[in-house]
Symmetry: D2
Subunit: 387 residues, 4 copies
């Protein structure tokens, strides 16, 4: 089973991650991970922060001569602006003279975090609750993603709406996806080529416009995205116990991403308004092979993959840090005040879509390893091909 | 930490569950659990199956003189029609002469289950993949719910749409909920009083009509529901590690319910289309107490509860067993055929809503116990009150 | 991954267990489990309790036509003397008039259990802390054992000392074991044939004598035992992370058995007094095959199985319930008193040895499934043979 | 719950660890951790490696102004001789020209590791299977230890035998321990003051002599040690489910340390040869307080702490790397050969004893947090004092 933990404060020295349980022999380079980190940093509407970052990973363990060792892979991404924060975020010392943040931003963990951990300085919350954490989550997941690729499982994603801007012709996008299927690398690349990760030019232009005008208003935007996983064999996950249902595990993975407040598999919410005869994907025999003319289930029946393209969608709320601040309560004075502004993005849905790719990767890999087992890529691959 | 496992085939002898980690001293009776089982069995549009069932639980361990012992609570719900299935579902014997099911129903685990486990008889899948399992999930969760009630945490739910029928006046429903808040028992009761668990008469009538006409067509319906948890203290869950985010855990719990394909916290999907200034819940100081005029976040910020009402919504797809069967592939002949019909419900959204209450209970309780600890209700309660 | 939970009070209605994660297609009958339960109940020096018990299992789920379904296997063992305890152990009611136990037995969980859970009646502790629980642990493990047998992994055990009585000629016993190796079924059978599970006649006679005389004195005895697992492939477990070391997992499994206070792998404690050159098992090439003239490591190097016979030893303290009671403190009066006597065994080391076989089975199976994966016995077996 | 993962190869760039679940507000400095790392590096009979190491930790996250933040604590210990290994242990490149190790050392994971992960170079195993990993385990555990200290739980350890050299007067040592009890800091310090961590001068001198002569012979030595935990409240762990028994968890923790092959709680193995009346610790009431004249149970009854000093003992086998190599099989040629010698220690029992302190710390802390809960040291402490 693959496990991973991330660590690191947003303005601390570095982000650190450990990925445990990766089979031996998986090809891996820092450049590969850096590319994924780069993908996460793209997107129209990102603030100055992203430019500062330009993340690069150091592989500290678990890889030798370009291949994983079966041992835990330790990763580090240094924070580029650490030198500006050595005093404010010092590990030691007493913090005297360092200003405390006492104004929680609505929609952030600021208020509840301070309450939970008993802080009088919200900086202690901000720095870990920040979406900066997802850089390490992406780095860790890249290791898993590399394994999946070797097996023939590919992950892509694209943005389906930003604010009220949605795809004008969803069918055209679906046709494109079907054409690439099962290899979702092309979808990932096509989305990477768009500043807003949209696969439709018309929507893309509108989205960029809405972000622009939103920025002027000092407001923020959310949106929806779709993660696609191709090459997933049928039979991953299980219906036999509630916590082994793969849809539940995928939902947890995506919902745990910062600002994500909704998840659906396939046409989840829309299907709830349709008749059964319009929803369920029929099976047809074509020369002895089972095919499905439709995939409204998003590749999942009874919590088990059915061999179709896996479709997981997420809804991201608008970013909680507004240039035009909202009302809040000062945790020291207990009085109503205006929340403070930290430099922030206007819209991070494209990044979120890449992070969601990362979030689902370990879930898929674990379900795969449960079925196929194995300690090395050679063992796993041989077994999978022979199936 | 509370753990639970369920077991049992739909037409087997019994459903069995074990709930581990319940503090000692929690008042519990079979009648209490039976009431929850009864709630799960209600709802307009249920097939004959429900009438047969009329579930009652036997508490086999973990409770003495009406109070939990800290030891695992074992529960059993006998299947009433077991006598009709003793041959077909015999534990021993060789199954000779028993007809095999070879026609998978689209939308069910039938096909992938047979593939995964190597079965030539889909009966082996159907009987565990069946939503019958949720009876035991509800029973197990009732033990947890009893604990939560003692602490002052209450859970309710209601149906927000069936097919295309939605609430005409969502605001009126919200007003009702706010009036009851934080005690969600009244909401549970009010929904129990409706055949479709709707809190609005107009929608209720329309929903019953659509179910009726749908039944005539041999089709099925899904819908959406909302689980509400009141009395949850701020600070449960954590933002520090992805898998400790309570929203992720809640999403997993609800998504793991049969036929649920979408989950959102608060106005999850709708919020993704709004501006930040329209979404985030401001904090106001009223005589030293922090209040929030709105709760669009559904009681959760950064994966941590914020003291507001917890709002979790789910989308259920239409039931996969249609009276008017769909096309499928016979797993023996590998030829296209019509899927077989098992007697089934037309719409199970009301039941699903009750099951979702059950699904979230252990997640809340575990987050609570992580913060407050304790081995007995007395210890836990005293500590919680003193906070 | 195989998980299992047990439930049930010693004088309650029944013991219940759920085993989750067993591949489909494993042959299983109640008679098979009953045989294991019978093995646990044997042994010279058992009190009257054992005779009352004569445990038989009911398989309530997870098995159809003699084969596992991949679904959770639920097991129930009814307590034969439940009818004598319906009042004292009633699930409901208020317990009025039922005498409370207030005298904790030294060496039992009685005192700490009452303290932990806040009980004024030690009966609430006794009934779950009792070694009666191990009947269900054995039943659950039997399901796993059946799987292991199909793969060619066999488990046996024997008693190596009772009180001060030890094997006179350990080498002779080792020779016997080597002769049977890798099939430990014969060892299990040979030990079953002895009233004290000893593989040496001389020691057996002495052990029976010491138990007899001990009983007269109103005292109790402990001893040591050895679990042997044959047919375990090299490469199970891992050195890459502390909690994946198989020796640690095995130690936890055996130490968690009632009254076990010591565990060693191979000649663990004795090896600590020897020189390295006397301890480590050399490897020799014999016609291209690696062999080991010795197995002092007990089949485990670096927390990973090395293909040799797995040897796990346990030390059981004397039973804590003495006919000639010890001093204790009444939890009500807080005064020193004599502990009360419950009918009990004089020596349970033979039973403990069988329970230890059960304890290790799921650990081995999980390490096996991690390496070989698979959802059905057919899939697992084919893969294992092909290796 | 506290979780931790370690990563890092013995000759890689660095060891890395992440500790998750530490409450906020625990005082922590790098110097504190360094002291624990220093303690691990002491001991007569260590090879040159130890001198090279002189480990110092970098705290990369989770601590600000000397206090934990509730966020994951990331630690890094750079390997001092990394510059000599940059080619041999390069993360990237193809490894051409780098000599492969093909001679497994008996008693190490070398052989099984290569087999398991499919390596043709045993270097890939050696570097992670090395006891070097325990440096990071100690570092991680130091964070937990700091928390325990604040609560009043202290951990010490001492060596009880090296090779055949045992304590001449165990009673005198026990008297010393009892005098310090419950504060085990003094025991830790007293053992630190001995080159072999022995609390008896006579044994110490003999042990140093035996190590000296053993070194000349090119052989190695093991031994036994004892970990003592003071200030542990009664009621940690539970008897209600096998995997919640604290003795099982402690056994796993200690057995998972490199070269440890035996674990006992209190007089585990010795007690198995005694009569019950000689073993169980009576309870006596002294002015309303329960006392125990003896502690043969090692502070644990029924898998639950009983408020007495916790005594956990381990048996370490001799180091597997002998200057005078043993026979082995070349994994390339498949021929018998002499195993290769890597510079190594003669005896590492003193280090192992310190590592064992580290291994048990998270187990105790988790059992504590399960009972007392809490997100900050202030919350936890206040609650614990009030009990």
């Amino acid at each position: 089973m693959i496990r991973y933990l991330t660590a690191g404060e947003s303005h601390g020295q570095a982000l650190v991650g450990i990925v445990e349980g990766i089979p031996a022999g998986v090809p891996l380079t820092a450049a590969y991970i850096d590319h994924q980190l780069w993908r996460r940093q793209q997107g129209y509407g990102r603030g100055g922060r992203m430019r500062i970052e330009s993340d690069t990973v150091e592989i500290l363990s678990g890889v030798r001569f370009g291949r994983t060792l079966g041992s835990p892979v330790a990763l580090m991404v240094r924070n580029r602006d650490w030198q500006n924060w050595t005093e404010k975020m010092a590990v030691e010392g007493n913090g005297k003279g360092i200003e405390k943040i006492t104004l929680p931003r609505p929609g952030h963990a600021d208020y509840v975090g301070a309450l939970k951990y008993g802080f009088d300085d919200i900086r202690n919350v901000i720095d870990r609750a920040s979406a900066r954490e997802t850089a390490m989550r992406v780095a860790c997941a890249s290791v898993v993603r590399r394994l999946l690729e070797e097996i023939g499982i590919t992950i892509g994603s694209h943005v389906t709406s930003i604010g009220k801007v949605t795809l004008a012709d969803r069918r055209a996008v679906d046709t494109l996806i079907r054409k690439c299927s099962p290899d979702m690398t092309d979808i990932a690349d096509a989305a990477d080529a768009s500043e807003v990760r949209m696969l439709e030019r018309a929507a893309e232009a509108k989205a960029i416009n809405i972000i622009k005008s939103c920025k002027k208003k000092g407001d923020t935007l959310g949106g929806t995205f779709e993660v696609l996983v191709g090459g997933v064999p049928a039979g991953l996950g299980s219906y036999v116990q509630y916590d082994r249902k793969l849809d539940g595990q995928l939902a947890a993975a995506v919902m745990s991403i910062h600002a994500v407040k909704g998840v659906e598999i396939g046409d989840g919410f829309a299907n709830s308004g349709r008749y059964g005869s319009e929803v369920h994907d029929e099976l047809l025999a074509k020369r002895g092979v089972v095919t499905r003319p439709t995939n409204r289930a998003g590749g999942m029946e009874g919590g088990v993959t059915n061999g179709e393209l896996l479709v997981i969608r997420g809804a991201m709320k608008p970013i909680a840090t507004l240039a035009h601040p909202l009302r809040t309560v000062d945790i020291r004075s207990k009085k109503t005040a205006r929340s403070r502004y930290e430099r922030s993005d206007v819209c991070a849905v494209p990044a979120c879509s890449v992070i969601a790719e990362a979030a689902v990767a370990p879930v898929i890999a674990n379900a795969f390893l449960e079925k196929y087992g194995g300690d090395s890529l050679r063992e796993v691959s041989a077994r999978f091909k022979r199936r």
